[in-house]
């Protein structure tokens, strides 16, 4: 029975549940302006965004202000989130990063051209689930790195290392997420033709 076969993967599925729960919460914000779902997301992410911004050099006051703007942006842009392309954690990180550049560094951020994908089909459930799972695995692999290497990566993201200080071989455990993101892009390019 398929029921029993899944035993070995059960743990991964449970961990992915947390990420799928975030996806459902973002959808509820998008579709129903669901304040309870937003409060759940806020409770988990806001203290992490604030901490991340402070580690990136923001004062507590600025980090607080910036965090509230990041979370408000999440509400405003919930329709742009695609669970087949990113985990909610990845998406919120990019919003926080852009706000950080704007507020802390007072710079413009040149962004790549959007791909001319046009109206997109509803994201495939299996793709979305797969990407959420792989991002969870990435997070676990990151946590399992030797202390020294993990600290180095954290410093790179906090802005304590310049690009020339980031070793060319970061040895990041990107693993399967790499192939999935590539596959998704290729598929999108293919449907564009």
């Amino acid at each position: 029975m398929t029921f029993r076969k899944s035993g070995a993967k059960k743990l991964t599925a449970e961990q992915a549940t947390k990420r799928m729960a975030w996806v459902i919460q973002v959808s509820a914000v998008r579709d129903n302006k669901d304040k309870a779902a937003f409060a759940e997301l806020f409770g988990y992410f806001a203290p992490r965004v604030k901490s991340f911004l402070m580690k990136s050099g923001a004062s507590p006051d600025l980090a607080e202000e910036c965090t509230q703007e990041v979370m408000a942006t999440l509400w405003n842009k919930a329709h742009m989130f695609d669970p087949a392309k990113a985990s909610v954690s990845t998406w919120i990180f990019t919003i926080a990063r852009n706000r950080k550049i704007d507020l802390l560094r007072k710079q413009k951020r040149p962004e790549p051209e959007d791909l001319p994908w046009g109206p997109e089909p509803e994201p495939d459930q299996a793709d979305a689930m797969g990407l959420q799972q792989e991002t969870e695995q990435l997070g676990q692999a990151l946590a399992a790195l030797p202390e020294e290497q993990r600290k180095l990566i954290e410093k790179a993201y906090y802005g304590e290392l310049s690009h020339s200080e980031i070793a060319a071989e970061t040895g990041l455990p990107l693993g399967t997420i790499k192939s999935r993101i590539r596959l998704a892009l290729e598929r999108l390019r293919h449907t564009m033709k």
Binding site: K35, A39, G43, F45, P47, R48, V49, K50, F52, P60, A63, E64, Q68, E69, A72, T73, W75, K85, A86, S87, S89, I92, A96, R97, N98, Q107, K108, R109, P110, E111, P112, E113, L115, T135, L138, G139, L142, A143, I153, E154, A156, Y157, Y158, G159, S162, H163, S164, I166, A168, T170, L174, I177, K178, I181, R182, L185, R189, H190, M192, K193
Partner: protein
């Protein structure tokens, strides 16, 4: 090979992709990275990976309490509609300047205000933050850029035509990442002027005396 894309052989390095994902590069470098990614699916996918890493680094931090009224204040901000996004700037298709570059270069290739830097080469410096600089370079077909080395990092992205240096051949979409150990003399191929987007975080080192004097005036 993905359909519809140019045959790009020379890509961004991992540290540059990671720095761009982290938001820690100088604006001038961000412009070269964003422009290359607009032309290269390979690096676009790699960027998504580094952003995923950033997300995991962020959720792994020790959380810090937000203000007691933070949620209420955020809801008030949402309801007041005060947080507005700047509208995306208008961009044209099929320009040799991909979208992010169009935001810095107003007008098309023929309307640019080029300044001669010697040896037939012209440039146009683009306004960015001061921690690095970025310029468009026009190298006439068959012409060499004076032999030079690098103090910091130099990124050169080809937009039109191609150049060849001691390392390899670089055509449209290719980016060359040069640092201290590279001394090179890029030569534009025959047939078409080579247009590049070049960023540096330190002045270049020219070998000859004349280019060194010229350097004072052209800010390379």
């Amino acid at each position: 090979m993905m359909s519809g894309m140019k045959q790009i052989k020379h890509h961004l390095t991992e540290p540059l992709l990671m720095g761009y994902a982290a938001g820690t590069l100088p604006e001038a470098f961000n412009l070269v990275v964003a422009t290359h990614i607009s032309m290269c699916d390979n690096c676009r996918a790699a960027l998504a990976e580094y952003e995923a890493v950033g997300g995991e680094v962020m959720v792994d931090v020790d959380p810090i309490d937000v203000a007691e009224d933070a949620l209420a204040a955020t809801m008030a901000m949402i309801e007041s509609g005060t947080l507005t996004e700047k509208p995306a700037p208008a961009r044209v298709k099929n320009s040799i300047f991909p979208g992010p570059l169009q935001d810095y270069v107003k007008g098309d290739l023929d309307s640019l205000k080029w300044r001669k830097v010697g040896g037939g080469v012209s440039q146009m410096i683009l306004p960015t933050s001061k921690d690095a600089s970025v310029r468009l370079l026009r190298i006439p077909a068959g012409t060499a850029v004076p032999d030079h080395g690098h103090r910091g990092t130099e990124l050169t992205l080809v937009l039109q035509g191609a150049f060849v240096d001691d390392e390899d051949r670089f055509a449209a979409g290719d980016v060359e990442v040069a640092n201290e150990d590279l001394q090179h003399t890029p030569v534009a191929e025959e047939g078409m002027d080579c247009i590049c987007l070049a960023a540096t975080d330190a002045p270049l080192k020219f070998s000859g005396l004349l280019p060194r004097i010229a350097q004072k005036f052209v800010r390379i």
